[in-house]
Each structure stands twice: as structure tokens, then as C-alpha cells.
Symmetry: C2
Subunit: 795 residues, 2 copies
Amino acid sequence: MTTTEQPAHADVGFGRRPRVEDARFLRGKGQYVDDITLPGMLHGAILRSPHAHARIVSIDTSEAEAHPKVKAVITGATLESLKLAWIPSLSHDVIAVLATDKVRYQGQEVAFVVAEDRYSARDALELIDVDYDVLDPVIDAQRALDPGAPVIRDDIEGKADNHIFDWTAGDKDQTDAAFASAEVVVKQDMLYPRVHPAPLETCGSVAWMDPVSGKLTIWCTTQAPHAHRTLYALVAGLPEQKIRVVSPDIGGGFGNKVGIYPGYVLSVVGSIVTGAPVKWVEDRSENLVSTSFARDYHMHGEIAATRDGRILGLRVDVLADHGAFNNTAQPTKYPAGFFHIFTGSYDYPAAYCTVKGVYTNKAPGGVAYACSFRVTEACYLVERIVDCLADELGMDPAELRMKNLLRPERFPYLSPTGWEYDSGEYPRALAKAMEMAGYEQLRKEQAEKRARGELMGIGVSFFTETVGAGPRKHMDILGLGMADGAEVRVHPTGKAVVRLSVQTQGQGHETTFAQIVSEVTGIPSADIEVVHGDTDNTPFGLGTYGSRSTPVSGAAVAVASRRIVDKARLIASAMLEVSPEDLEWDRGKFFVKGDPSTAKTIQEIAFASHGTQELPEGVEGHLDAECVYDPPNLTYPFGAYICVVDVDKGTGQVKVRRFIAVDDCGPRINPMIVEGQVHGGLADGVGMALMEVIAFDEEGNCLGGSFMDYQLPTALECPSWELGETVTPSPHHPLGLKGVGESATVGSPPAVVNAVIDALKPYGVRHVDMPLTPAQVWRAMQGRPFRTDLAITDE
Amino acid sequence: MTTTEQPAHADVGFGRRPRVEDARFLRGKGQYVDDITLPGMLHGAILRSPHAHARIVSIDTSEAEAHPKVKAVITGATLESLKLAWIPSLSHDVIAVLATDKVRYQGQEVAFVVAEDRYSARDALELIDVDYDVLDPVIDAQRALDPGAPVIRDDIEGKADNHIFDWTAGDKDQTDAAFASAEVVVKQDMLYPRVHPAPLETCGSVAWMDPVSGKLTIWCTTQAPHAHRTLYALVAGLPEQKIRVVSPDIGGGFGNKVGIYPGYVLSVVGSIVTGAPVKWVEDRSENLVSTSFARDYHMHGEIAATRDGRILGLRVDVLADHGAFNNTAQPTKYPAGFFHIFTGSYDYPAAYCTVKGVYTNKAPGGVAYACSFRVTEACYLVERIVDCLADELGMDPAELRMKNLLRPERFPYLSPTGWEYDSGEYPRALAKAMEMAGYEQLRKEQAEKRARGELMGIGVSFFTETVGAGPRKHMDILGLGMADGAEVRVHPTGKAVVRLSVQTQGQGHETTFAQIVSEVTGIPSADIEVVHGDTDNTPFGLGTYGSRSTPVSGAAVAVASRRIVDKARLIASAMLEVSPEDLEWDRGKFFVKGDPSTAKTIQEIAFASHGTQELPEGVEGHLDAECVYDPPNLTYPFGAYICVVDVDKGTGQVKVRRFIAVDDCGPRINPMIVEGQVHGGLADGVGMALMEVIAFDEEGNCLGGSFMDYQLPTALECPSWELGETVTPSPHHPLGLKGVGESATVGSPPAVVNAVIDALKPYGVRHVDMPLTPAQVWRAMQGRPFRTDLAITDE
């Protein structure tokens, strides 16, 4: 039982409660994109480039068109005439839906076949004859800017290199001075390799452009249906009021499903061309090879400190590999603000960062996979280099952290990059994690094992996230601001519906958003229906990513619910013939102060509002309220993690034995769901630390094209998680909530890596790049770790 | 070109414009209930009583259940256990979904079969063995209260007769005094026979109770989806937030589709019992025999006047035949307020009315078929008796009307029954109709023809309607008040959606409501999508009937649109950095007063509201607005009609040669649609006057069970309508609109009947009951007309 948990009672408000959506998920009755079948529906398949870099000489589709079951073969030429040649992208890059001049990465879309069934569409792909003039690929980000490197984006006028941008943050002079005065400086290169969110469900869409009504309906695997709709309207000029984007049940997103993929556009084009609904669903290999990857940050960190462990400064230099295009959360034309809280959770007097973006012949990265503005990469860098510093100083890494963590009195804290952390009690969280772990005892055990020659490691990490994208006037997507709408309608019988601008990819919104309404209005959450994921049915908002559902949309729902209560007070005052101030609110009912027997329940008030009750001046009928919430600031959840590993000396195999995670995301709507989110993120972290990487060979072949190659953690690799919490409410969220969706994914990889490197201390290892596969660990023990992003070894 | 018509321009605002919905209707692409097909859907059929009055001794369903394709056979017993035994009725009567004790009219529902296909379901009906003990039926309303008449409603405790209520209105003493002082008194009995709205589409529903989510979706032919939802929740206890009622394209309603029919409930029960979706669709005969009829008013009128034609008083006595139950707009427990403006359009010093309701063994009537609170029947009575008076006085009926019509200075006019007519310029409308008709010339022509022995008639009628049901605190359905919600959302690109609580049965709401938004906001109407007919998608409201869409829901939309403009002004003031008062509104844009070059269009403002524009204090993002409109009063459209007929002396065949209709419904949103509505209503009037009647034989068999028996007018029976308008805005509607859906149906039957009787003047005929079929006219010429409601003649 943790602090925000409440005793089980009549299904009202916050508390541990089964997920509503599991009724269908557990029975296999979810409705995913691939479950949607429309009368007369056709099926599409995409022809993809086998080359990483090649000029397209010609495309001959005649044989495919002659296939008896093929209805259309679409190339770039078809798209041009429909004004749908370019992806409505959230970045400012210009990305062709189908390549026409060159292919720039393996798996890039070249043509689209629409046929009567999926099998015929696939078969016909083989009948398309593309003549490629193969070019040298640029695979190594560190060599992308070499003079003479092939220019990938020769489609951009005047572009003669692979450079995208340079960006800096912090105060260079101040940081140089801090380093000059330091007693100790530690430097370390490190790679956060390409990883893939690998959601359970791949991407897909069903598009239906009704030729009679002109209405375009797109069911697709998107985390941001409203953004998609407006982008189609802005970029392709389709009439916004005639576009409906539906995000049905989604089998995981993790940022992989934020942007618009060529396949979505192609299903739309397919429907326009054939006059029939068209379904397109990726297979696993297509998802892994061609949809947005994450990370691929080549980082160099330097930390300056006093000999007694007071951190003085941080210097970071990053080479960001964007792949061939700038996708989704990876902007082109403005600096990558996405590394903005690179300083993490510590109290640095000075910090400075540079980021350089480059193009390579790889699929576009930039997916917001628990990225929360690149906090994942930054947190990894900081937490690793703090461990390197501890090693250098001979200090316990937990002690070094405790010494330098931001103290509660520093909040609201203005970071060296100008971001204001809202609230935090960092030392309390770390102390709690250490207590839960039995930290001292663990160190004793480690010492004993080391003495016996056994490799046990203890890894500590601390993270601060920055989530809840807004405020609207500071952040935008193609000019659209980050405000979320919410509507609460109480029906005549006192049941309610809440409509959200965000939607779920499995996070349990149908449960938690009902609980928010319930918490405020007192209506049992079982009486509240949550509607989301359908632009026809929900208020505008830019979608679910960056853990923003609870901080922004949750706030919108809370405010709308409060407006319901405010309106209910006025109606109750008319019903009871007293002034509104004379009423007392006892969650779910109003009564005349001092006389609970006069109570009018929210249900009675709802009926009266739809009935014939005389209403006070200026109060309209029905019990509805709306809110468009513009967050005054981001929220800053945080946490302290401790990981305990054993490493097999002979094979390099890492066993995560224990994992203690103390998360502080403010009050918890439904502690069970928070724990589920944390469990998932911790498994992510184990995967990224130990197993996952998308590497490329010299020809630019993607080496992670199946789950045989791209390893994901299973229950076997995960320990029984040990979770704890502290509660530091956000001062600016109406209910103090902060969001937790990405926390564990951000915080856990450095804990695991720190633990493994701690285990390898006897071998003098200070750093090894992820993933720490048995081979990598074994080679690190030999003093010659791999470079994990390329299939190039020194063997 | 009439006064409110506007020059064709950029698709903004009111004006003549093609109907948006015709794109699908004309191509046969409408989606009606019977077009809905769900996976695994089953089909239901209803077993109906062959008797008008019989006790049910037993029902044996075993053979039907054994049919290999039958999935369920449902009787009253099944319903009891599901709490769905009673129809959630809009009246306060208790009507069984399936008869258990007795059947009370021919066609009453007795059992329901659910089978794999429609044919098997129908076949299995014949396998159900019902043992009936046949009772004497009560068919003649005028004998229903005879001592010893069989008691129909012995299900009501203590009920020993067929009496329902007595109701009076007006001042009896004052009226008696007026009559005592009169120089002339004319008395006339008349029948407004049973007629049927006979919509093109019969009733039907598809119900799907999803056993996983618990969500009940009902697609049904209803004019009032929200009312249906709440009634299911109130009566059956189903959770309101889990019920979705969808009214898809509807092929005409005319009041026939307001209430809940047993078939709807049975499809719900069928789905609950079988776990599959269940479709039920009536055939034509079922629709004619068992769904709500209209009228069946046996009326006695008396009018008192001075010798020079000043009307002094009106006395009305009505026997209202309700059939076996009180349905929909036919209340049981409170007086029939539905005859409330029985005095019509004239300035009576005194009026008094009594209405007595009785049960008969006929299908329940009470449908709101252009009933607008029984104005249809009242208008007929008044317009006929005024003609009788003119005949008695030897005055021209138009002249008599002109003399007694309410004069403009009498408005707002408080009627003898206490209703406040909002606005009117009655003499202007009549004068315009007479001018259009060339009234004097017509009378000359008639005189010439009469001289030649030809039968030509000229009929005049004037009507006042009372529509736009509200205000919410004065009118209710089971406690639910008459307020309508509307929501307008302007998307980022400046396109908009408007969500209505009402929906259409063919009236063109998708066109006209977009025009209302356009009129106020300046957004082109082609950029505005209208959403309606789906409780999941639209704000609460009690539906479309009594011509209330424009007066109530149209007002809600207008007010919400004004709120959009008000909000846009504030946002524009921030964009232009001036105070809101310094802005000028030029429909569609704001500019700084005196400088049109500064204009910000509504589209630019919409984008800014969704973007990063700083907003004024208290203004939330997005450009949305809502309104729940509670009308301060009803609206009172009116009109003057003139009909010219020729009657064949040999056969009694009536030919409507001309029909002049001047309607005043305030400003016209789309004159073309208004004219279409008027055309339809005029055809209704020709049908009712000349052809339509649902009669019964002595055993209670319904004699109007097919379109072979129940004659509807076709283009052959209709002249080329001559339409005119006057414009008297409603002072309390935000745009002055009044509603026109029922006007012509109310006003036209007396014009036709008056014309025929005028033609028959040479035969000394003062009154003949509708319908004026050739046989009836011929017999009237012989001095012995039929009683049209019974299949009993003197032959």
C-alpha cells in the first residue's frame, strides 16, 4: 500500500481498479486495424527498395497491371496528380511517399499494388521491374561529413553534404571556466544505438474515400488522429471537415505510430483510384526495416568535479544520425530542442551542449520512443558519466548522486538550458530506493562475491523526465499548438461520457480518464464512458506521445469535470431554493450547509438539468462542460532505480537479478496501471541495455529485420520488479498529476548498464556500448568491445 | 424571386442552393436501416394478432423453436425477465411489447421469432400456435361509451369503461353569452378520419448488444434518437452511457417514427437472447396496420356571428378515438393540450372547447402526423365551419375571412386558450394569395361555368400553426424538457462541423443547418459538415417533430455560431493587437475599424486559435462553441391557401386544377427546400381531402392494409403548385425563423374540401366528410354521403 492508494470503495475516484478495456482484450475481442473489413475492400502491398542508395532509372509496371486480380499499380506519377506525393510530415522535411529520383535507404517505398486480396498484391510486387543504378551508401554517421562522402539529399536544392544542423545549449564560457577550475575531469564517448519500439501490432490502415459523399475515412494505427487529419488537410488540401481519422484499438505505439507513413497515404490513394476501400497492413519485417527507429546518438560527455565529488560542470557533444530523412519528432529547420534537459537531475553550476545532425542511408529515425525530448539519450549519458566520475573518484555512485541531486529547496528549478522543473524531492526518492534495495547489504554481498571471483554488479540511476507537451504558444507541430480539448456530458440518468483529444495504445485510458471524472464529480467510474481515437467524435488535440495524456488531456478532463460540479451547484441551488454559497459539496452531492438530509445527488441534478427545473439566470440546460487545456508548463516526473546483476564469467551472459524502481509521478490515478506502465518501461530498459540494436552492414542492409535478429526481452530476462513510489504533486496541474508512460524506459537502461559495468570492474572496464550482449560483455572483459551500430568487427 | 431570396454568391449564408444529401439519395446510396448488415446478423419477424379483440388462452412455440434455422422464439414471458416487457412510451400509458393477457387490435404484437434469415423467421411464425378466445370488438368511437360496451382496457385496475379523459379549454360562460347574443349560429358535425403518414420507408431496427463491452447499439427508424436512448435507460434500466441510438438515413417520418415500437424493443431483446445482432424491418402491410395512425377526431362545431359577418364565438366538441392505447403524442393522464389553439387564425371574442378521449379496438393512434398539437384537426374544423357560415350568410368566404382574421396590431396575440401567438400579418398573406389566384376572375369563371352546368369550386383556407416545442419548463416528455443542444467546431483550416440534437427524415438538414452556421459565421456552407442522428455524436435533445428543428435546434445553432463569432473577435483582437471593440465584422472576417486591409478571416482566426497565437485572458484555445437552447415561446407560422377544383358531374371525380399557397414562416434558410416541404404538404392535403382513410369493418379488420386499399396521391392528382410567401419574422427566434415542415399539411385539406363543397353548391351540399372520393362526392350529390370511418354503408 503506497501513499496515494485509497481504500476500495464504491468505484468512485482514484484507486486500484481493473482495466475496463481488458474485458475485450483478454477475450481477443479488440478491434485493431487489421480486424476492420469493409464490403468490397481491396488490399495493398508496397514494393520496397532492396538498396540503401540507388538512382531509379525506370519503373515498369505493365506486367503487374496485367495480373488478373490487380486493380491498380501506383507509382510517384499517380501521386503527383493527386497532390499526395509528399508525406504530411510533422517535421519540416520533404519526404516522398514513393521514391521517384533515388532510393535513400533499404526498405524505402517505390510502388504500391492494390489487388483483390493480400496474396495477389504481394505476388504482383514481383512483377514490377525497377531498374536501379546502385550508388555508394553512407552508413557510418561518423563518416557522413567526410569530404567526398556521397550526398544523400541531392533532392534539396544546393545541398552538397550530409549536414543537417548544429545546435547548442547552455553557456560555453561559463562551462569552460568550470572545467578549467575543476580538480577532476572525466571524459567518455558513448553510443546510444538505434533501437526500434517494436510494438506488438505493426502499422496499417484502411482508407475509404466515399465517392458519393466525398468523405475520406482512414482507420490507421496512429497515436495522433487529429494531427493526421489536419496534416492531410494542410498538405494535400483535402477538406478537413470531410476527413475522419479513426485510431481503433492500437497494439502499442511507443512513438512508432506518431507520424504519417507512406502506407497510410497509399491506402488513401488506392481508395481514390479504385473507388473501393483499401487495406494496407505491414508485416513484421516491414515494420522493423522501414518505420521510425529511435536513438542513434553518438555522444561524447565530459564532467568536471571537485575531488570530494561536487559536480562543477557538464559538457556534451552529440552526433545525431537522422537517417535519410527527418521524421516526426526530428525537426529539420529549427534546432533540436529535443535534448533540452540534457543536464538531468543534478545541480550543475555550468553546462554546455552541442548537437550536430547528419543524414545517412538509413531509414528515417526520430521516433519519439519514450524520447520525451531526447531525455532518454541525455539521461543515459549523464547517468553513465556520473558513474564514470564515481569510478574516477573512488566514490560510491549512490553517494555521489545523493551529494549532487537537486535539493527540494531548488524547485521550481531553472535548468542551465532555461527549462523550469516544476517540483521534485529527489533525495527522498533515492533514499527510498536504497532502503528498498538494502543498498549497504548489497554492497557487502558484492564485496564477498568479488572476493570469490564472482561478477555481481549494482547499478544506480536517477532520472528526470520532461513531459506533457505544451504550453501551446511555446510548442507546435506545423503551427498547431499543444492544447488538449475535453468534453464531459452527463446524461439525464446521471451516467456520463467523456470525450478526449488523446487516445490510447494500450495505456488504459478508458479506465483512468473515467476515474478522473469520477474523482471530481463523484459519479462512479463504471457509469462513465470514455470516447477517444476518432476525430468525428472527439475534440481537437495533437495526440498521445511524450507521456502527455495525463498532464495535458487529464488536466482538461479535470477542469471540465470541475465545471460540471460548478454548474451542478447552480442547478442544485435552484432545486433547493438557496443561494449557491449555502451549498456544501460532498463528492457526488450537494446539500444545504448543516443539513445533509437536503442532499441532491449529481444524478438528480443531471435529470433536473435535462428536465423542467427552472434554471438560474444565465445557466443553460443539460449538464455538460468543455475545456481546452493549455498547460502553463511541462511536468517533470522523476525516479531512482537500482539494478542488481550477475554476470557469467565464462559466457558474458548478464542476469538481471533484482530491479528496484521508485517512481514519483505525483498522485496516481490507478496505481495498478501505473505499475503496469513501469513494468513495461523496465522491460524496455533491460532490452535496450542487453539485447536490442538495429545495425547495418557496409552495403546498408538493415540487420534487424526480424525478431530472429532484433532481440526483445521476455519474462525470462526480467526479474520480479520491486516498485516503490514517492508523491510530489505538480504545482500547476489541477490534480497534481505528472504522467508516467515513459519514465521507466528513460531511467532503466543506465541502471542496467551501470550494474553490468560495476560487475566488470575487476576487469578495469569503465564503459561499454549497448547492447551488452554476452558477446559484447565477453569482449569487454577482453578489453576489445564491438562497435555495435555497424556489422563491422575487427575479427 | 421572393423577398428573402438572395442573389447567388459564394455559397455563404441563406439562399437557394442544391441539397447536399441528394448526392447520395439520387444515386441510391442512402444508408437506411435495412441497408445495415452486420457480421453474423440474425433476422426477426413479428407474429401479430388476426383479431381486434381476443383473450389469449395459450401460446405454443415449441414447433417454431424446433425449426432448424430459428435461434429464438420470444414471448411476453421472455420480456418480463429482461425488464423489457413494457414499451418505453412517450405517453404515460402502459403498453405491452408483446400481448400476454389479451390482444386489443388487429396487428398487435404477440410473439417474435429470430432466425438465420428473414424467410425462415416468417415461415416459423406460422408454426406458433396461439389459442384465442375471441371477444366483441369496439370499433365505433361514437358507441365506445355505450353502457354494456366491452371494456378494452381491463388491464388498468378498476377500469370499467372505455373513457380516457375529458378536457376543456376556453370560457364556457362567456361563449354561451356570445352565442346567446348572436344573430347567426351555424352548427356542423364533421369527421377528420384516420389517416396514415405512410412514409416511403417502413419502420425497422438493427440491435446489437455487444456481450463483451455491454454496449447496446440500436439503429432504428426514429425521429428522436436521444429520447429513445433515455427512455431505454429510464424504463428498462439499461445504462444510458452504454446505449447508442442511431437514426441513419430515414425515408420519411411525418410523426410515424417518433415513438418506440415493439419491433425495436424486440430486436434488442433478440440480440440479448442470441448474442448476435438482430434486424427487424416491417413490411408495408405491418406499417399500415399496426403503426401509429393520425386524426380520428369526431368533431362538432358551432360558430356564432352577426348578420354582417363578424364572428362572435366558437364552440367545439370533440370525440377523440385513441385506439386501444395512448401512444406517443397522445397523453393519458393529463388533458389533451394538443388541441390548444383550436380557435385558429380569427379574432373571436369567445371560444370554448371540450374533448373526450375514448378507447377502441384499433391500433393506437396519436401520431404527430403534421399534428403540431392537433392544429391540423382544429384548422380543418374552423376553416370548414367558417365556410359553412359564409354559406349561411351568403358572403364570399374570402371576404368573411378577411373581415375576421387577426390584424397585425393584435400581435403578440393571447388566444382564448391562453397561448401567445408571436407574430403575424394575416390579411397581407390572404391578400397575396387572392392576388396570385386572380380571385375575382376565378369567381367570374365559376359563375360562367355554373351557368353552363359545370362544377367548378374555389376553396379558401387560412391556417395558423404552433410549432417549435418548448419552452423546456412548460413541456416535457416523461420529465425531460424541450431544450436542444448544438455544437459548432471550427477546424484548424477553417472548415467546420455542426452537431445537432435533431435529425432529418428527408427535410434537408445537412444543407440548411450548414447554411445557418454559414449565415452567421461567413464560412461557406460547403465547408460545413452537419452531424446528426447518432446519440454518440450529438448533443442531447428530444428530436424532430412538430416542425421544431428550425425553431429550436436552428436557434441553438444560430446562438452557438454567434458565440463562435464572439470568440473569433477576441482572438482577432489579440492577432491585430487592438481592443475587441475596435474591430468590425464583415461576415467572414474582422478588420480594424476604418482599415479593411487589416482583415483577419474566420479561417485565419481558426488556425490561430489552434496554433501558437497568444490568447486574451480567459479565452481558451480552439474555435468551438455550444448552446443549449430553451425557446422562450413557440413559433406561429401561418399561411393562406386557395384551391380550384373541377368536379365531374357524372362520376364525382375531383380534379385539383390550381393550388395557390402563400406561406409565412419568417425568413427562409433555403427557399428551394421550403418549397419542397410545402409541395409535400400540399400533396398530403390533396391525399387526405380526396383519397386517404383507414376504415375498419365490424369485426375490427383494418381495411387500409396495403397501398391497394390505402390510396396515396401521385403527381397525377397534383397540379403545378403556385407558391408565394410573406415574411413575418418571429420576434424571439435569433434569426426570426419559424419552421415550415407541417404548414401545408395543416392548411391544405380544408382548402381542397372547401373547393369541392363550393363546386357542389348547386346540389345544396354544405358539408361532406373526407375523403372526397368519387363515390363519396357522387353520393353527396345524391344527398346521402357515407360515413367514411366504418365499412358500413346503407346499401
